[in-house]
Amino acid sequence: MLKIEDLHVEVDGKPILKGINLEIEAGQVHAIMGPNGSGKSTLAYVLAGKDGYEVTKGRVLYKGQDLLEMAPELRAAEGLFLGFQYPVAIPGVSNIYFLKAAVNAIRKHRGEDPLDAIDFMKLSKEKAALVQLPDELTKRSVNDGFSGGEKKRNEIFQMAMLEPSLAVLDETDSGLDIDALKVVAEGVNALRGPDRAMLVITHYQRLLDHIVPDVVHVLIDGQIVRTGDKGLAMQLEKEGYAGVRNALQP
């Protein structure tokens, strides 16, 4: 599904990612953990195609295609979804209208007919229930005046509507209380499936209690320093990133 080879990325001339290698198969959930400033969000943005991130070396293959050559909307149309750490507000544009435009843009790319209003509403009701997103929020402007938790739930709602092949979730747990975290995690788990891969980026192990990953990577200073199973996350929780860092010292 996704193959990252020796990826080097700079922001304003400063190296942030220093040779990332990562391969995710369909059906897998990978987690990337790491301290602040390790390059986690940079990786997410580079995969989604945000401006201002210069790839100086390496390549990324997504479904066998050169991902880095594709425009952001094309990546989205090809099934790559980014759950934002800080979703932006778009005042005046209703959430549901925005999503309809997005869903139909992606359907168009796939050569499918646009969903009509009735089918769309039916689908959105079903998916909103999945993350317990109140009806009222679907009608409000995109993320406008949403609480932190509501924004994150809205991201997962959008993911459910767009049914991506690869979902990159950037700190979906930040700003969530434990109940909201459970709701979001249940929403994510409901979307796991043999044809879908996920890359879950997080600071803390607690999210991984609810979204159990197949593989855990530890990203420190722009490099993946450890890769393991769920146990690695537990170990991190106990020893902290300092522990991993120390263990790496010769």
């Binding site: 401006d51 989205a76 005046g92 544009v93 869903v103 843009a105």
Partner: protein, 482 residues
Amino acid sequence: MSASTEQIDDILKKGYDAGFVTDIEEEYAPPGLSEEIVRFISKKKQEPEWLLEWRLKAYRRWLEMKEPTWAKVTYPKIDFQDICYYAAPKTNENAPKSLDEVDPELLATYEKLGIPLHEREVLAGVAVDAVFDSVSVATTFRDKLAEVGVIFMPFSEAVQEHPELVKRYLGSVVPVSDNFYAALNSAVFSDGSFVYIPKGVRCPMELSTYFRINAAKTGQFERTLIIADEGSYVSYLEGCTAPMRDENQLHAAVVELVTHEGAQIKYSTVQNWYPGDENGKGGILNLVTKRGLCEGARSKISWTQVETGSAITWKYPSCILKGDDSVGEFYSVALSNHRQQADTGTKMIHLGKNTKSTIISKGISAGHGQQTYRGGVKISRGATNARNYTQCDSLLIGDKCGAHTVPYVDVRNSSSKLEHEATTSRIGEDQLFYCRQRGLSEEDAVSLIVNGFAKQVLKELPMEFAVEAQKLLGVSLEGAVG
């Protein structure tokens, strides 16, 4: 400037579809302004003596007046002696009696602009008066409207057929000496639409006037007068386009509305005059006086405007709320792109008790565009319990444009209530990236955001115009208003 700001710029460099010139023989007055020209126009229109005197009075007042300079717009000084004040297609010497007599070239022009002049064709619910340069070339559905007593005809014909109405109302809302451009218009106005809705009649269809400037070096000075008698209702739409020309052209119109007791006028404009090129060369100078008088109790005047064209817009559709419990509304979307400058807003003058006004203004600035909201809310001593709500929002696209808000408020009693809200926002790269990550192209994303911003106003437009306005704002038709 980042890559995506440049992409926004590309999106904004849309062409001007209405920029063609109709090749038709026209008759002109010699350029320049003098008493002779005023007499010439009046004679062309075979006007009665009183109207000529009225024009001359306006002309003499105009000579003593100075061009206003308080608006936040800059443009080359207008040489009023270099403008032609009358141009009319030759074939139209005597107004055609039926569409069959209208020059096919003219019909083709309106066809191309999407304005059907054949009654059998689409838009059967809209009656159209088509004004080409200085004259009205066709008015549709006149007979059908006459059945219910509605008068809808070119202004020059109304002068002949309903002199008592014209004499009573002309200048009653915008007096000849009101301002420099209104005085100029009063002296040289050539045509426009006249509407009278009799007592208790709800006008059965939308009325619309389509203004087209075609001739070069010619100004358009139309005059529109709409009277809604007691308990009547009318919805009136106005559209405008002009060819692309290198020099500025002057458009100085006057619109007067009068509503009697319990009557309502809904006046909508989609203004798409040629805005000039990317560097600010050419374009229409749109210097317009529009005012409505809520004469009777419980009457209502509602202005809705979508202003996307013109190099310069200087326009303040206003309401004088004289009748008790009368209501004034102003909904505006104004877009300034490239080098366009718009100084627009409204005045709500509360005279009667319990009068209410609402102002919703949405300014969109892009490129090097400059946008000023200028509004005045005046509540007189006698206007007890008056209410005003004003909301002024500005949206900036790119980093070279500007938005300015100049609200004037003057309240003379203590029982009235006013609210003013204002916001300024910018289409951010983060917003665009968010949209693109969800699969929308950058162009669709900008449209979506602009449309969302303007929605509150667009929903006030009649259906046919809402679609037109959305297109003009660069919005795809998918998911039209509603």
